[in-house]
């Protein structure tokens, strides 16, 4: 009896296998989404907010794997060397396009080793100064910077607060000294104390200090005004058209993922931004985008040469 049932099972299995033309439908197992930071940061939170919905759409669970360190290069290497079957993906950020310029000997090729899946969200930047700086608008700041020495805080070389201000310096022709910190937290501490005068920060972490009068908010770094700050101008509209920096978050996988699989993942990641999830992300201070792999590709290809030129001009690294 047992044998008979086994034979029947095998036979049905063979029939089903024969009936479906190619192999079984992707995905057959859980999908690993590598996050290049320790848990708790914005990128990790965004990944965890969307992962359940993506999993639901694909009919499999999406597991977050935190691989911090090396400014994201450790996670990127793990992704680049993974099997290109669509089961290993990475939620990558601005540092992905900056690393080729700021890190020597990256163990992978940022352009060749990855395929873009979707552009999920970004976090608009705000330019804040300590109240001791006698300016009340971005224009005044630029004037002031021409005649006074200003210092600005970064979260380390090649990080978003560093590159964003370096880009501004090169566009506006002003000089400010970068003071590097080990992360945005300590940088904010010294900014609040006035030891350092200016910072490009995320809206969500800067806003309460602005409201309490401990910092002055002068402009936003995104191409359009942000809904939370309808009265705050963008840098671009203040005479620097095309100026745009944001801390973006996108999904990439290793090169070689079959196109139907990539397209299916792309659809899942863009469809996952339902109105409810969009609302939650906005509460986290993140702007949902829901862009395609093409959108992410365009962004990556625009940013890599931009950072490379900037890093070379500003002599950010010694290499």
């Amino acid at each position: 009896m047992k044998m008979l049932r086994l034979a029947a099972t095998l036979l049905t299995g063979a029939l089903i296998a024969g009936a479906t033309p190619a192999r079984a439908e992707f995905p057959e197992g859980p999908i690993r989404l590598i996050v290049p930071f320790a848990p708790g940061g914005t990128t990790d939170v965004v990944a965890r907010r969307i992962a359940p919905k993506v999993g639901e759409l694909l009919g499999q669970s999406v597991i977050i794997d935190n691989r911090g360190g090396g400014g994201g290069s450790i996670a990127a290497q793990a992704t680049a060397t993974a099997e290109p079957d669509g089961y290993t993906l990475m939620m990558t950020t601005t540092s992905h396009t900056a690393n080729p310029s700021v890190q020597m000997n990256l163990p992978y090729d940022t352009l060749k080793d990855f395929v873009s899946v979707a552009l999920v969200a970004d976090q608009p930047g705000v330019i804040v100064v300590h109240p001791s700086v006698p300016v009340n608008s971005f224009k005044e700041l630029m004037e002031y910077a021409k005649t006074h020495k200003l210092t600005y805080a970064t979260a380390g070389p090649g990080t978003f607060p560093h590159l964003g201000i370096e880009l501004l310096k090169s566009r506006a022709g002003v000089d400010m000294s970068a003071i590097p910190y080990k992360g945005a937290g300590p940088a904010m501490t010294d900014l609040l104390a006035g030891h350092v005068k200016l910072k490009l920060d995320a809206y969500i972490t800067a806003y309460s200090h602005v409201k309490a009068g401990k910092l002055k908010l002068l402009a936003v770094s995104s191409p359009e005004r942000i809904p939370q700050l309808p009265d705050t101008p963008t840098v671009a509209e203040l005479g620097y058209p095309g100026y745009e920096v944001s801390f973006w978050m996108g999904i990439v996988g290793p090169t070689g993922i079959p196109e139907p699989v990539r397209a299916k993942l792309e659809k899942a990641f863009t469809d996952a931004l339902t109105p409810e999830i969009r609302a939650v992300l906005e509460k986290d201070g993140v702007r949902p985008i829901g862009g395609s792999g093409k959108d992410l590709d365009a962004l990556i290809q625009r940013e890599i040469p931009q950072w490379a030129k900037l890093v070379k001009d500003a002599n950010i690294t010694a290499n």
């Binding site: 290497q77 890190q103 070389p157 000294s177 080990k182 309460s208």
Partner: protein, 499 residues
């Protein structure tokens, strides 16, 4: 009067059934991960953060805070019993705590550590309730120049951690400084001393280094010499500290509490220094400094109180200004943002139940921790009666799991193994690991603050003496240098102190 209504609100919040449960869960988890070497509060809170998505904000933060200060209690356990400091704060506890354990006083050391931590935690929480906003303002007056001078004091004091030759201690400090600089330079982005290895770009993981050099090194020594019993297990009646041990602990606990509370407020690495500073101070003030490093109860009581006091007061900058003083506080801020609370200076007025509830929960949590930890002592001490040939593979395995899971990184396990071999060699040659570890921790900070202060002053070195706090600290450093150097000039010291 406002304070009293605040405290009343706090207890009303913290004593609700749900919040009590989460406070207990946090304290229990903290104790457990503190005991598990390698897996510290940062990794644990990070892992649990996604679970708090579904919780209301107050119980979520109460639980996460409980994990943090609970780990301060648990961390001393492995340091004392098996010489494995699972946290930077328990490195100094291992120095004398483990020696006490070898003499059969493990129970006493654990009890003193728990009671000292409880006292310090209570006092520091009280400070937090009464003076949080003004203390936070003081913390902000510390800029890069002040931190540099503070770290110099710490560096000089590190020499006193050794009980043997001053020259060897200095050599170890320098070696620590050197290895501490491994990784990407935050100013230039250049990788240093990484030999092209991507896994060294963030430097050596402190916990892996400490566990290797102390714990694994000690295991190798125990295995090499079978006649060297790793542990003399006291009779169970001697679990409680003796009257003499309690008497000797009172002043170190008081001093450690004050020192830890003050250093804990400083967001730039003050809490890290507190246990080291307390140890140095106790050794200098002691009438019998020769006992330090051989099981002096003061060497456990002071640092343990200091690090727990520091753990509580390090909430001050986060709660009053919204700035993180360490990675744990950064995660707490992340947790608040997830909950839709924007951390910042207005949190006391906009979220009074959160602020006061969290403070009240710390009182309750510390109380729970003492109740939890005192009965466990008997169990821990019994654990080391397991025959060593069965115990050591378990210790090694648990260390490997802990070090790996902290960052999901195999390189950390390798680091621990290499430093284990180094720890064994150094012990054979009579070099002590404690000054090395302090150099390793302080070195990168000295450099970071020195270069930042110089950048901000545009290369003018006088900032260190024109800023009053910095000048005062440098004066303390100069005095400390004389105090440290004097006995070694008097060459008798070496002879007296060496085994």
């Amino acid at each position: 009067m406002e304070i009293f209504t605040g405290i009343e609100l706090g207890f009303a919040t913290a004593l609700s059934f749900q919040n009590l449960i989460y406070c207990f869960v946090g304290a229990l988890l903290g104790t457990m991960i503190g005991v598990l070497p390698g897996l510290g509060p940062v990794a644990t809170i990070a892992l649990l953060l996604p679970l708090t998505f579904a919780l209301p904000p107050i119980p979520a933060l109460i639980m996460l805070a409980g994990i943090y200060y609970g780990a301060q209690y648990g961390g001393s356990t492995t340091a004392i019993l098996i010489n494995v400091p699972g946290e930077s704060s328990s490195v100094v506890t291992a120095l004398d705590g483990y020696q006490m354990a070898r003499r059969g006083r493990a129970g006493a050391a654990l009890a003193i550590a728990a009671l000292g931590s409880f006292f310090a935690g209570t006092v520091a929480t009280f400070l937090l309730a009464l003076f949080a906003p003004p203390l936070a303002e003081i913390a902000l007056t510390f800029g890069p120049a002040e931190y540099f001078s503070l770290m110099v004091v710490g560096l000089i004091a590190s020499v006193t951690l050794a009980s043997g030759s001053v020259l060897k201690a200095l050599a170890m400090v320098v070696l620590g400084l050197l290895l501490g600089l491994t990784g990407q330079d935050i100013y230039s982005g250049m990788p240093r001393l990484t030999f092209g290895s991507a896994s060294l770009i963030d430097g050596y993981e402190f916990v892996a280094v400490a566990m290797g050099i102390f714990g694994l090194g000690e295991i190798i020594r125990n295995l090499e010499d079978e006649s060297r019993p790793p542990m003399k297990v006291g009779t169970f009646s001697s679990l409680a500290p003796s009257r003499e041990e309690v008497r000797r602990s009172i002043k170190p606990v008081l001093r450690g509490t004050v020192l830890g509370s003050l250093l804990g407020i400083l967001p730039g690495g003050g809490a890290l220094l507190s246990s080291f500073a307390s140890y140095s101070m106790e050794k200098k003030l002691s009438k019998h400094p020769e006992e330090f490093g051989r099981g002096a109860v003061e060497g456990v009581a002071g640092p343990e109180s200091a690090n727990n006091a520091g753990a509580q007061t390090s909430f001050i900058p986060m709660l009053t200004l919204g700035i993180p003083s360490n990675p744990v506080m950064a995660l707490m801020i992340g947790a608040m943002i997830i909950q839709g609370i924007t951390p910042g200076p207005d949190i006391i007025t906009s979220q009074p139940d959160l602020f006061w509830g969290l403070i009240a929960s710390m009182w309750i949590g510390n109380f729970m921790l003492v109740l939890l930890n005192l009965p466990l002592i008997g169990m821990w001490v019994r654990l080391v009666t397991v025959p060593y040939h069965l115990l050591f593979p378990i210790i090694v395995m648990v260390c490997c799991i802990g070090v790996y899971s902290a960052e999901n990184n195999v390189a950390n396990v390798t680091t621990m193994a290499v430093f284990g071999a180094a720890g064994y060699l150094l012990a054979k040659l009579d070099f002590e690991p404690a000054p090395f570890l302090l150099g390793f921790v302080i070195g990168p900070m000295v450099e970071e603050y020195l270069r930042r202060a110089m950048l901000l002053s545009e290369g003018d070195p006088t900032v260190f003496i024109t800023r009053p706090i910095s000048a005062g600290l440098l004066m303390i450093a100069a005095i400390a240098l004389v105090v440290v150097a004097l006995p070694s000039i008097n060459s008798v010291r070496d002879v007296v102190f060496r085994e």
